[in-house]
């Protein structure tokens, strides 16, 4: 044992140095790859337009805060942000409620063929996003180019993942609670609200956040389902601004920052749920 420790010493130090060096190197690589681009956009957003044209890679002597007010006024960013918030919160809330209403009877086997029903919903994870039939459907059902329709069209994409996640969370709630509540005469919806929701709220939150992210960042939906610019969410607004003002990079960079701040703030507050759900193997194949 002592000989092992003695001969191990120099090797252990070399291994430690190696680990330290490679950790530093990876840290540096990640910062370079993931932080520098973001930092660069922030820098450009604060450059004077004339300064950007002559020397784009250095910050201006005086930060051009006016870029932010200019893009805010030239684009329609305020209204578009409000649209995005309405669409993503409403659609994600509907997705979460419906996922719970589907997942509970499946997890508790209150319906015929619970396993078959579960498999039927898992298929949804692999279905191609059939944007062409959806476009036709949206027109036939009056969901094309209006707010309510746009929200309704964005409920389904989050359902399969929501049901899969929540079925797992509900299965972890002991069944004895159901029986106690049933015998006390507690109604179905009241039971869900009073018992299941508090005990599975982190699953509900993850479902809500992932659905919300999907709606917030969607660009194909706004291109296909919306025509009226007053209904555009920020993703399409920003992309259109890029299309019409290709050379105004300082303004566009300010627009990128404005469009990202709300969702980034939400992510920073809720990051541990995102990180934990991704690390916890929420998805099984």
């Amino acid at each position: 044992m002592t000989s092992l420790a003695q001969t191990g010493l120099p090797g252990a130090r070399r291994a430690r140095n190696y680990a330290l060096a490679s950790r530093l190197l990876t840290g540096l690589l990640i910062v370079l790859l993931f932080f520098l681009p973001v930092l660069y956009i922030i820098m450009v957003s604060l450059e004077q337009p004339a300064h950007f044209l002559s020397s784009p890679l250095t910050p201006s002597a005086h930060p051009a805060v006016a870029n932010y007010s200019n893009v805010w006024n030239q684009g329609n960013l305020g209204a578009e942000l409000v649209n995005t918030i309405i669409y993503s919160v409403a659609a994600a809330a509907l997705t979460t409620v419906l996922s719970l209403l589907i997942a509970f009877p499946i997890a508790r086997r209150l319906v015929a063929w619970p396993n078959g029903l579960y498999a039927f919903l898992v298929i949804g994870l692999f279905l191609p996003l059939s944007i062409i039939p959806l476009f036709i459907e949206a027109q036939k059902l009056g969901l094309f180019d209006n707010r309510a329709g746009y929200i309704l069209l964005h409920v389904e994409p989050g359902l399969p993942l929501g049901v899969v996640l929540l079925t797992g969370f509900i299965a972890a709630v002991p069944r004895e609670l159901d029986e106690a509540a049933w015998s006390d005469g507690c109604g179905y919806l009241r039971y869900l609200l009073r018992v299941i929701v508090p005990l599975t709220w982190s699953g509900l939150l993850i479902t809500f956040l992932y659905s919300m992210l999907g709606v917030w960042n969607d660009i194909i939906g706004p291109v296909v389902f919306l025509v009226n610019p007053a209904l555009f969410p920020i993703s399409r607004g920003l992309f259109n601004f890029f299309g019409t003002n290709q050379s105004d990079w300082t303004l566009l960079a300010a627009g990128i920052v404005i469009a990202s701040l709300p969702i980034l703030a939400l992510f920073i507050v809720t990051q541990r749920y995102f990180i934990r759900s991704a690390m916890g193997g929420a998805i099984k194949m």
Partner: protein
């Protein structure tokens, strides 16, 4: 109770299952989506058109898709493994970096796409300045042969965080004792990596490889932002979208390409899943 379940299933059926099936029906018509045009069944003519010179572009899109899928899957998993290996620790800096690599997922395709368009702007971008220092230049996203690797790179940048976190979850599930026992038996760093880490990561690899393959087969929203399928970046998903909603306005042909893409995805993903599962089983038993 029934009402909530049926409501959820109705939304799932109407906006998930029906469009997926309707894709097949639309693909058998000459539906253009334009007002005033007549629509009739055209049998398999859309499918025949793919393979003939009547509608060129399918075969080249097929090859571009293959390059895209293989490039994204291999590099994303390679980098993901590497980053996971370094970021699995419990230090504060590790958890900060874990959050950082996740940020592009939160920012979404529009913002991520515009960030990289700015960085690779042929006139003002930092990448152009770097090339200029070496006495050369490139149109980047506007150059055939350069655009596709760049698009693959941005796609990986966007999704690397999730891959990495799934691998970290896999690494954390391997017990310390196995490593300690192996060290005592004289297994070196390389042997431990090859004989313990990689085999026991098999379930995480199954998830990550399948997600990357299925995801990169079907995705086109980032490509839409970066190049709109120009400069040899038109994958099958992009081809389907552009045929339906681009200048050509042919929803029938677009639907046929979607169906072909879906069948192709299944042909690749199902045997791959079978193989990866069998590999897991062989290793752990």
């Amino acid at each position: 109770m029934r009402l909530g379940l049926w409501l959820g299933l109705a939304v799932y059926g109407l906006f998930g299952i029906v469009p997926a099936l309707a894709n097949v029906i639309v693909s058998l018509t000459n539906y253009s989506g334009l007002a005033g045009s007549t629509t009739s069944f055209s049998g398999l003519s859309n499918y025949r058109a793919m393979l003939t010179t009547e509608r060129p572009g399918f075969i080249s899109a097929l090859w571009i898709t293959v390059v895209f899928v293989v490039g994204v899957t291999v590099v994303q998993n390679g980098f993901g493994l590497m980053l996971a290996h370094r970021l699995q620790g419990g230090r504060r800096i590790d958890s900060v970096l874990r959050v950082l690599v996740f940020v592009p997922i939160v920012l979404g395709v529009t913002v991520v796409g515009l960030i990289w368009i700015l960085i690779f702007d042929p006139a003002q971008g930092p990448a152009a300045s770097l090339l200029k220092a070496f006495g050369t230049s490139s149109a980047f996203f506007g150059a055939t042969g350069v655009a596709l690797p760049l698009v693959i790179g941005v796609q990986i940048w966007q999704n690397l965080g999730f891959t990495t976190l799934v691998y970290i979850g896999g690494l954390k599930s391997i017990s310390r004792e196995i490593y300690e026992a192996a060290s005592l038996d004289g297994a070196g760093r390389w042997a431990r990596l090859r004989r313990i880490t990689l085999p026991l990561l098999a379930p995480a690899m199954t998830i990550n490889i399948l997600l990357a393959v299925i995801g990169s087969f079907t995705t086109y929203n980032l490509i839409y932002i970066l190049t709109d399928g120009q400069y040899s970046t038109q994958t099958l998903g992009m081809l389907a979208f552009n045929n339906a909603f681009g200048l050509s306005a042919n929803l029938g042909y677009g639907a046929a390409v979607s169906v072909a893409l879906f069948v192709l995805t299944l042909i690749v993903a199902l045997p791959l899943q079978w193989y990866l599962r069998r590999r897991e089983w062989r290793i752990t038993s």
